[in-house]
Amino acid sequence: MSGKPKLYYFDGRGKMESVRWLLAAAGVEFEEEFLETRDQYEKLLQGGSLLFQQVPMVEIDGMRMVQTRAILSYIAAKYNLYGKDLEERALIDMYVGGTDDLMGFILMFPFLSAEDKEKQRAVIVQKATSRYFPVYEKVLKDHGQDFLVGNNFSWADVHLLEAILMVEEKKSDVLSGFPQLQAFKARISSIPTIKKFLEPGSQRKPVPDDKYVETVRRVLRMYYDVKAN
């Protein structure tokens, strides 16, 4: 056993992408096993590795962790990306909750019909620019520090950068009204571990395509008829 965390998921973003970001940001190398067939999934199920019969699953420190939020919380705490006390952790949890909700609008996007995709693109941009981005813009403006919480790099910064880049993929000039976020994006992108993750050849996954959608549907036998949220 290598000692490195091992991620079990599809070869694509989905719910596992935030875990890849956080491990990468923490400078932690990890292995991946990609689900490609129904058989592989059923083997995992029969083997009892998936507590609630679902992926993501991450083998880490002798545990088979499931539930994305639990996994991310554990990694954040282990690698000191979770604030210095309960109050800072509360702030980080609130901010991550917001970016998680925003990314939630994007998660099912690849599974929508072409018509619903257009509508959802507008929803994503509207939520980002009227509900979420203004909050982080103000936080950064008010304290004038480089990082969202406690003047220290944390999970909240990683998650926000991930969200910003994902929304920009839907509308490239979406940050035009947010100068603080533009500066934040440049700053966080140049942190060495993040810079490395953003380079070609890293374990960052590309925007989900039809092949990804087809694989997920085939392996899970789900998500055939997804409606926008």
């Binding site: 507590l51 939020r69 309960l86």
Partner: protein, 222 residues
């Protein structure tokens, strides 16, 4: 200022109920403000109380906390219901997140259209009996302890207790294949703070009815 946490939500369960359970289980008294009109909700937003324009809102220790999970994590951490170390916390988080997926189905149920209700109830039954309850039945059987994690009362126990009762309201015989969970339910009912919360007159809210659904739609109308 009373020093007690203050909860702002509708006068009903929704996403705030798990927070009420956790505070009550921790023996913490709290005040509540009930939103009844869209105007009250819009005013909260305008006055800058709601970070992401959403409730639940819990004012606690000088913070205006939003995001249900963040709030519960804070309460659990503060009142020693989040395990003794990182690994116990990880277990508690996994259990709570799983249960929360089941609770989400119950949360949305009152808002499903009449012709989907039977199907949704069937889904809740299927998930509870095939996916979630078997996990906790096994956990309790394997370690033989009273509590889910670390032989100590935690957030996970509170959340599981809430979920069991919520599912039983819809499916009264749902625990029939789960002897460990039946024992667990009895034991939790006798934890003094939980016993108190289960008595009439506590802040516990009744199951959502038509009036609650109507209020939700009215207050959050775009």
């Amino acid at each position: 200022m009373s020093g007690k946490p203050r909860l702002t939500y509708l006068n009903g369960r929704g996403r705030m109920e798990s927070i009420r359970w956790l505070l009550a289980a921790a023996g913490v008294e709290f005040d509540e403000v009930y939103l009844e009109t869209k105007e009250e909700y819009d005013k909260l937003i305008k006055d800058g109380f709601l970070l992401f324009q959403q409730v639940p809102l819990v004012e606690i220790d000088g913070m205006k906390m939003v995001q249900t999970r963040a709030i519960m994590s804070y309460i659990a951490g503060k009142y020693n219901l989040h395990g003794k170390d990182l690994k116990e916390r990880a277990l508690i988080d996994m259990y709570v997140e799983g249960i929360s997926d089941l609770m989400q189905m119950i949360l949305m149920f009152p808002f499903s259209p009449p012709d989907a209700k039977e199907k949704n109830l069937e889904s809740i039954k299927e998930r509870a009996t095939n996916r979630y309850f078997p996990v906790f039945e096994k956990v309790l059987k394997q370690h033989g302890q009273d509590f889910l994690v670390g032989n100590k009362f935690s957030w996970a126990d509170v959340q599981l207790m809430e979920a069991i009762l919520a599912v039983e309201e819809k499916l009264p015989t749902v625990l029939s294949g789960f002897p460990q969970l039946q024992v667990f339910k009895t034991k939790m009912s006798n934890v003094p703070t939980i016993k108190k919360f289960l008595q009439p007159g506590s802040p516990r809210k009744p199951p959502p009815d038509a009036h609650y659904v109507e209020t939700v739609l009215k207050v959050f109308k775009k």
